[in-house]
């Protein structure tokens, strides 16, 4: 079931005009921002399919930048996000891709600063609901509706069990989990959707586990 809550259907409260192109885009941008953990200095956004054809009229451009600025779907500042980003010194590039993506509403967001960069692909599946399908080259599924943690780790036995044990110890229930790796024995990524927000102490504890390289959380 792609949609689990009635508020996926009656909602979100949002700035018009399109739940897929405006609210969904804002949410994709906000997940990227949340994962990056700080306001980036630059952003390159590629639009595919219907996003590429109609983003100007739908405010998809202002919405996705609004999300990158950490604005929610109903934040009035979305309308002036490009000016706000400019005032903050953020350099923005939009690319209209000709390539056909798997989903008609797809955006690739690359954001960064002097410290690093992050690349994410999101799709807007309707009614403001999104899925994150790719992160830094890893394939994954992330609805953006639940608190989640992303754990970059070495592909070794016990790495997953270690993380699950720590979560169990803190009585944190896993709703959805996905493991993705580029090649056997190399870098891998765990995506874990949980039922409640995770305290920073738990994140720090996860980071100390063997073979765990990086832990990031996404709040609901």
């Amino acid at each position: 079931m792609k949609y689990r809550s009635v508020f996926d259907i009656i909602g979100p409260v949002m700035i018009g005009p399109s739940s897929s192109h405006t609210a969904g885009a804002a949410r994709i941008g906000r997940v990227a921002r949340s994962l990056f953990g700080r306001e980036p200095k630059w952003a390159t956004v590629s639009f595919y399919g219907s996003f590429a054809k109609t983003y100007r009229g739908h405010g998809t451009d202002v919405a996705i930048i609004g999300g990158i600025l950490d604005f929610d779907t109903f934040d009035e500042r979305i309308k002036t996000s490009l000016q706000i980003a400019d005032a903050n010194g953020m350099k923005i590039t939009f690319i209209e891709e000709e390539a056909v993506a798997d989903h008609p509403n797809t955006a690739r967001v690359i954001i960064g600063d002097d410290q690093g960069q992050l690349e994410l692909v999101g799709i807007s599946i309707g009614g403001g609901k999104i899925e994150i399908t790719e992160l830094n080259g890893f394939l994954l599924q992330l609805s953006g509706n639940h608190p989640a943690i992303l754990v970059m780790h070495n592909d070794r036995y016990g790495a997953i069990a270690g993380v699950a044990n720590v979560l169990a110890k803190h009585a944190i229930n896993i709703g959805h989990m996905n493991v993705s790796r580029k090649e056997k024995g190399q870098l891998a990524l765990m995506t874990i959707e949980v039922d409640q927000n995770i305290e920073i102490g738990v994140i720090e504890e996860l980071k100390t586990l063997p073979n765990i390289l990086q832990v990031t959380k996404i709040a609901e």
Partner: protein, 296 residues
């Protein structure tokens, strides 16, 4: 968890409760939230809908200038009293248009199930309110009932114009509204499902062809007709008329039609009304792009 309309109706019948109640209980189970929380979240959505209608009836204009002011015209027309169809239908039409005009103007709305189709459910709700005098709680239940049917469509077909055409957006919204109107007017859960089926059947094949890619033309007027369609279908179901094709099969048909629709007719502004000479002229004017540089 109900997966289709047949299961939804069965749950309501076996528990001897409204469709709304089935949706409320499922929401509490899935999210772990209390009944009070779930109700207050829906109440917030209802408030946003009320404010959007109010704003639209006061008159708005979109940035492109393509839409705005039609809700005002319709209210003035109703006040003259010389209308041909019923007052409740026209009131629903004006309020659906009001909401969608606010959406087009980048105002605040509640996606129901999407932003492009946000007018139909509140439009019909606020119109039947004058006829049925529901309590606040019953108005909130109207939204849960709409949500229950939309939930089935979203999980078994689609509510996105880009994925399934306008039948998936305004079509779904109209079906959701028809079911909720039927329940609010005292219809059974089975009658609510019939109303949904009858409405959606009459929205099948509806393409998504927004002029200049904007959620304005023909979206605003499609919200109007979606509302009218929902009202008539609710009356048909309450009269005891049934759909020969069961609701779940209609939803499945809608999904398959959407999949076979060419991408030009799925929110890409490449076909239909968007590709008419006037549609292209408006697009060129709004975005300042010379016509000869547009894609065919």
């Amino acid at each position: 968890m109900f997966r289709n309309v047949a299961e939804l109706v069965e749950l309501a019948v076996s528990r001897n409760c409204k469709i709304a109640e089935v949706m409320i209980q499922q929401e509490m189970e899935v999210t772990g939230k209390s009944r009070e929380d779930v109700f207050s979240m829906m109440d917030r959505n209802l408030k946003v809908m009320e404010q959007a209608v109010e704003k639209g009836l006061a008159g708005v204009k979109s940035h492109s200038g393509l839409t705005g002011g039609d809700a005002v015209l319709m209210q003035a027309y109703i006040e003259k009293g010389n209308f041909l169809s019923g007052e409740t239908i026209l009131d629903a039409v004006s309020k659906a248009v009001a909401t969608n005009e606010v959406n087009a103007a980048m105002g605040t709305i509640c996606a129901t199930p999407t932003a492009g189709s946000a007018g139909v459910v509140p439009g019909t709700l606020f119109a039947v309110k004058h006829k049925l005098h529901p309590t606040r709680e019953e108005m909130i239940e109207f939204l849960f009932t709409s949500g229950a049917f939309g939930f089935v469509v979203a999980n078994n077909a689609s509510i996105s114009g880009a994925a399934g055409g306008c039948q998936a957006e305004v079509g779904s919204a109209a079906g959701m509204a028809a079911a909720a109107i039927t329940e609010m007017a005292g219809g059974t859960p089975a009658q609510a499902a019939e109303a949904m089926a009858i409405t959606l059947k009459n929205m099948l094949g509806l393409v998504c062809d927004p002029v200049a890619g904007l959620v304005e033309v023909p979206c605003v007027k499609r919200n109007a007709m979606g509302a009218a369609n929902a009202m008539v279908a609710a009356d048909m179901a309450l009269a005891g008329i049934t759909s020969r094709i069961p609701c779940d099969e209609v939803i499945d048909a809608m999904y398959k039609i959407g999949q076979t629709m060419p991408s030009a007719l799925r929110e890409t502004a490449q076909g239909g009304l968007a590709a008419t000479p006037t549609g292209r002229e408006l697009e060129a004017k709004i975005f300042g792009i010379p016509l000869d540089r547009r894609e065919p």
